[in-house]
Amino acid sequence: MTIRVELPQHLRTLAKTGREVQLEVEGPVTQRSVLDALEAKYPMLCGTVRDHDTRQRRPFLRFFACEQDFSHESPDAPLPEAVASGKEPFLIIGAIAGG
């Protein structure tokens, strides 16, 4: 399954990628499986989206997809079919606070 993920600017710089990356995800497409795949392909992003130890989302990041906010959903909840099919990207967004 090829998943599309959009990264905020600073993470694109770190990972040396463009706005969007494509990831292969095996099994159910969830926040956890998508972020696991992201960190496996771009190890320099470990710790930047989720805390190394707790695996919790960093507080100033948000997860959007299909015009919905998934930031507070369970990391193991299935993401929308449009994300799982690659039709829509999973968006990692830096919170606006502090500009």
């Binding site: 600073h10 770190l14 190890p43 100033f60």
Partner: protein
């Protein structure tokens, strides 16, 4: 041809300023890591092309960067290679996990919070990186919440020296205005087992066994802002400096008070003398004259700018107590900048160069031990740290 490379960390990126030995004409490169807070950059004394950098962000956390070509290119150690399919991620250069293991670590207890209640230790950022004096792949990191980490593989992975955080006084440590940071790491060139560190607001500590065990070294410090002004810990030490040629002599800029020790921190005495105010952040020692020291007095703990609108470096050639204002080339009216604790450095050329950066984005240099100053750059983002490498 000798020269210098000045490493500047700012609120919005890093800058590298280079000059030949005359230190009159400067090349400026940057911003490196534009938009990130660059708390500290420091080069290896063994291999000057090896530079470590602390890149941090409230949004994206901590990164460690390394250059092996003098700052031209950078990489995240261990994170630059794609792992084999199925292999675990290798990007742990930014992973600072407190060591709570039964074998080598200490239980993760609590420290005092601003309101006096107890608060759990939580990693926030790396304030200071101190490369080893003998091995470019060994580097120490001072972090917030206060702890010291060491990497022995070129910053690919980090391990806490847990004896410091866990030695017993931790519940009495508390954050200063900038957070509970371990900001100073001094390696003793005459004794590889000895390290001196300082924490705001806990005080100074020393190990004599390579980081296994630590003890507070705050005897003689007096701080009115803690219940017992002469307590063993709780003092807001802002910075400590040492001349490598005289490692038992340490100079300290405390929250208030400039102090010196001649017994590696076992005891301290005040040397504020005739300073206009003894509040400040930076302190440094002349590279060739161990009794010549520099501070930048700041008006007060509630007014973090230079007094009277005048930017003055104060120099003592007597190891303290007798100070002279150095003003030539520095603004002497309507100046209200601050100079943060890691934002002063000295080179080892003859004559000794002195450098400092301000909250207003200026980096000033003196190529004559402070007698006169020039701004290398005027308009950088607020400067967090300044280090200098002497290139022979």
């Amino acid at each position: 041809m000798s020269g210098v490379r000045v490493l500047v960390g700012t609120r919005k990126g890093a800058f590298i300023l280079t000059a030949d030995g005359k230190r009159e004409k400067w090349d400026v490169s940057g911003p490196h890591f534009a938009g990130w807070e660059m708390y500290h950059l420091k080069g290896s004394p063994v291999d000057p092309n090896c530079i470590y950098a602390s890149q941090t962000s409230g949004w994206y956390g901590q990164m460690i960067q390394r250059s092996d070509d003098g700052g031209k290119t950078w990489r995240t150690p261990g994170g630059e290679k794609m792992p084999e399919p199925g292999a675990p991620p290798t990007g742990i250069a930014n992973k600072f996990s407190y060591d709570t293991s039964p074998e080598t670590g200490k239980p993760l207890t609590t420290h005092q919070f601003y309101d006096g209640t107890q608060h759990p230790w939580q990693f926030k950022r790396v304030w200071h990186l101190e490369p080893s004096l003998t091995d470019p792949d060994v580097v120490y990191a001072g972090i917030e919440d206060a702890a010291i980490f060491r990497s022995t593989d070129g910053a690919k992975s980090w391990h806490e020296l847990a004896g410091l955080r866990g030695h017993g006084t931790g519940p009495k440590w508390q954050p200063g205005a900038g957070g509970m940071c371990l900001h100073t790491i001094i390696l003793d060139p005459s004794n590889p087992k000895r390290i001196v560190i300082a924490i705001s607001a806990a005080g100074a500590f020393r190990t004599d066994d390579g980081g296994e065990t630590w003890k507070p070294i705050n005897k003689g410090l007096h701080s009115q802002y803690i219940p017992d002004p002469n307590a063993e810990v709780g003092h807001c030490v802002h910075h400590v400096a040492m001349n490598p040629k005289r490692p038992n002599t340490l100079f300290m800029q405390k929250h208030w008070d400039v102090m010196r020790s001649d017994d590696a921190g076992d005891s301290w005495k005040e040397v504020s003398g005739n300073l206009p105010t003894d509040f400040g952040f930076v302190i440094d020692v002349h590279a060739h004259e161990p009794e010549t020291i520099y501070v930048v007095p700041i008006k007060s703990d509630s007014e973090h700018f230079v007094p009277e609108g005048k930017l003055r470096v104060y120099r003592s050639k007597a190891g303290g107590n007798e100070w002279e204002a150095l003003t030539k080339g520095l603004p002497q009216s309507n100046c209200y900048v601050n100079v943060l604790r890691d934002a002063m450095a000295v080179d080892s050329l003859d004559k000794c160069g002195v450098y400092f950066g301000t909250s207003g984005g200026q980096v000033y240099a003196s190529n004559d031990a402070g007698n006169s100053w020039n701004a290398i750059v005027h308009d950088l983002p607020a400067v967090l740290s300044v280090e200098v490498q002497t290139l022979k």
